[in-house]
Symmetry: D2
Subunit: 319 residues, 4 copies
């Protein structure tokens, strides 16, 4: 298995992994994929359900449900439109929440580094949440109305270099102390395709796994680890450097092929499959690039808008 | 007792409470006070040790040691000078740390609201700390040198209105998870005298008590509550509104007395003792003022400088 | 005149000054006051028009129109309601804009210190504006739709201690370079009555005068100084310390009077008029208090909400 | 000429351009290069002086002096070391300041977007400067000591998308109003080689040219444009995407060559010179990548440290 994973393409999006495999036409057992469109086709909803270990191994993600909302305009300004995305998020997130008659205590964890623009999505979402837990006792928060299904609290655990602690440690400690029933972890992700940046929300019930997220969490934030179900909300805000080289590489081959007369050259490269080519690049890419990411120049504005969209989606459910 | 406490003056500084009582010449059993000067008299060090319940009741603070460092220029810029305050802090803080042969895991908790200037001291201190825990494992932190006595980690738990959790809950949860041995809680305080603003650091081993701090913590952060010793570092950055009225009141009386011919008026007010006068004002002050604080216009610069002073003092010990 | 001004009460709100004078039943020539209610009485609109020098002297404000919008809930959260205030702001602000057939270039100046919570209103408003000037040429701003009446640009000039320049200098320099036709200066103000905090928006066409605003601008930002009309939008976020003592004082007198038997005492104080009492307090208040302000503990949340309300009101007109 | 420029490699560092040309062994008239080492070889100082139009065309930079300070550890923490870099900056910056007997008014302009980590260097430098202009008149700034050679003021003009104005417009307007004698523009740059990130300070007297800087200024900030000499201080904090592909490409070729047996393939690529290869990649790289940059994951910490280094270097001269 290790060998297979070694060749996985670096992305946090199940939908991208699934596409890579489908390209190679081999149907995977234990992986169900369905896609539909809502809001007059403005938002596409892809549901990837991984039910078998084979499926998990093939996709390179743990078993679970991965719902991907896509909309070209999510990163853009324009009030009205965000509302639709927030609405969609609230609908599909609710679907993954445990069903119970007891009031649920929900802890939202905004992962990432508030001081690094592309990684600041999680902490920004927390800043715009309306928490409800303890609010009746506390003064000064007047606009609170009682929600009889949920008690919401939130934390931005920061990053290891700032705190000397894994986000997973802080979250687990807090969850046990306040007896939270569910964790919703919001994180900035790394995407494989640049056109997925800031257009996609992935909701999954499999938690956050090591190496995922812009900040590359080392300790997993999952039910196994935290003790309660962990729903992950992820938005791609960066691409890793190797991906970019890889994409350029493909375009380059096309150009060369057209310009013709370079059969050998093209044959050589054609002889690599996706994983091999990517791996080759990974190996020759300068080591310092491994620690870099690629992000749009206007990412600060985009992250600001998207964080409101996510917060609003959560506020719809929990307040 | 309740009655006595009802008349306590609002301050988080043991040294101020002690002064109020000494004014009335009554020696208190179980309260030892000593004052000395260091750095050619530039910094005064007052140690108030409360050993009996009577003392605690009289002062209105729990039993424990309260070390107050005072220096007129702390809030001012001027590199060199901060170093001396940082040095003094490191010396007297070390004195309150538990002695052990085992390596201690220290959790620094920066209390308060990072978005409210006068209350942002704690979170700012955390931002400038050099945490050491897990740093050998983690990448990218090159300048780390091993400290064989301490492992430092840090958290800014935020405020109830943001998180829906008491700071005490977050800290206790984290302490238990990472098995911290000591908590150092840094907080902005409320002072009785405006000349104490930004000139004073109080270090105590009695933790943080309800209603103390600019943000008025409702749940105490003490060994009893958290399970490990809690050392509190407090810096006054605000004064409460009633204090200001009270001080003005006193000045007013002096003026009136001098201007003479108003014996009755002065007699009336003279007939009140400090607590009664303060209480009277508390009662007649507009209710909304109870939820306000008074802070200097340049507090943002001052808090910035002082947070470096505190961080530096901690870095001297722990890195 | 100087003498009269010496006794003016410290407030930036024309409506408060006018009230003080009306209390004393003396009708002022050249001061027209009308009050109405909109949005089912939720918002009160007071228009004070000062047309004569006598009026200006009596009120202690330059000649001009002062429109005050008041709504108890402005500082509170609750989406829907802010919209109404934003709408009202856009209506009454438009009324003060010069009428012309040419396209107007508007410079919004967000005055104040972004790092001091209560003074950060202006800079925050700028952060949430949709500027339109040069946006057609520039990339990345897709949702822009052309406004054929206005070109909007914005600046947060910072404060003297940060920049070494008066806000007025920066604004004048920029206005001349970009040939702006109007300046809209947004600033946090100081109020006389604590119940006006975060409930009031004052719009005036007389600009910003020395000593006004939380940051106490020393150089006026007016047509005379800048060269183009200056419309000021001010929101009270602080009260000065003397005001608080003064208010408490009044309450105190009431209490004493009721409690009776202290005729002399009350007579003494009753013998002062408002200005004298305030002035007396100003004189006896500790000098350092002159450099302080009083602000609510939850001011950070309030300023955040109100800054959105103002930005939204401007965006309604200019985008 | 246009043709030549079309093939220039994207970098803001004169020293890199000069290297590219020297690689091709052709001595350039009107370009003088000297390199020396200071601080026991810890800091290298390269001075590129372009005196002729030929030289300017060949290097692709305007005529002027470009001093490059390089030190591997600049981006790292560790107090002591920053001091040396700050010291070196102050020495070489002073060299480029106009000599006069009159007191000079200096305007520091911190260019870039404070909300985008890699672009926030300029605004952060301004935040840590000790401005001196107007400070004697103003209150509260106690630590000021008179400098009889310079009056320092500073501004962070923000970015077009926020302000609707070019930085050049704001700077010119302010310069004319306050009669500044010199502008020092601090900006985050784009580098050609990833090993130059956060290790290099470029000081030049040729100002800021269109398309330079992370934010890609469209209007030049030069003496011609602003009216007074403009000294630029630039620090590379990002690499553009095409550069990364290009570097990987070269490594790839090496690998392939070694692995042997692919003569044709290597010949094909070898037949391109640097500019052609880079240009080819520019053409095939996905268009959206043109609007992206590559930055290290820990850039937030690095930018924080470097901004202090620059501020300190300026404070040494001007306070």
């Amino acid at each position: 298995m290790e060998n297979e994973n070694k060749f996985k393409i670096r992305t946090d999006l199940a939908v991208e992994l699934e596409e890579d495999i489908n390209k190679k036409q081999n149907k995977i057992d234990g992986v169900k994929v369905e896609r539909r469109y809502i809001n007059d086709g403005k938002i596409s909803v892809t549901r990837v359900v991984i039910t078998s270990n084979e499926g998990a191994r093939a996709i390179g993600k743990p078993k679970g449900t991965y719902i991907t909302l896509e909309s070209e305009d999510m990163g853009k300004t324009g009030e009205g439109y965000h509302r639709e995305m927030s609405g969609a998020l609230s609908v599909y997130l609710r679907e993954l929440l445990p069903v119970t008659k007891d009031k649920l205590t929900i802890l939202v964890a905004g992962l990432g580094n508030k001081n690094a623009t592309a990684d600041s999505l999680g902490p920004r979402v927390v800043e715009n949440l309306c928490v409800t837990r303890l609010m009746n006792e506390s003064v000064g928060n007047t606009e609170l109305f009682d929600n009889d299904m949920y008690e919401l609290c939130a934390i931005a655990p920061g990053v290891l270099a700032e705190t000397g602690m894994e986000s997973a440690e802080i979250i687990e400690g807090v969850v046990k102390k306040i007896k939270a029933d569910v964790v919703i972890a919001v994180d900035a992700l790394s995407a494989r395709k640049s056109n997925r940046l800031n257009t996609t929300i992935q909701i999954s019930n499999s938690g956050i796994n090591p190496g995922s997220g812009v900040g590359n969490h080392r300790m997993e934030i999952t039910k196994k680890n935290i003790g309660v179900p962990v729903i992950a909300i992820g938005i791609p805000t960066v691409i890793d450097a190797a991906t970019i080289v890889n994409d350029t590489f493909d375009n380059l081959m096309e150009v060369m092929k057209m310009s013709g007369g370079m059969e050998t050259y093209v044959k050589v490269l054609k002889s690599f499959n996706d994983e091999e080519k990517y791996q080759l690049i990974k190996e020759v890419i300068s080591p310092e690039l491994q620690e870099m990411y690629v992000t749009p120049k206007d990412e600060d504005a985009t992250v600001k808008y998207i964080s409101y969209t996510i917060s609003e989606g959560l506020n719809i459910i929990f307040t």
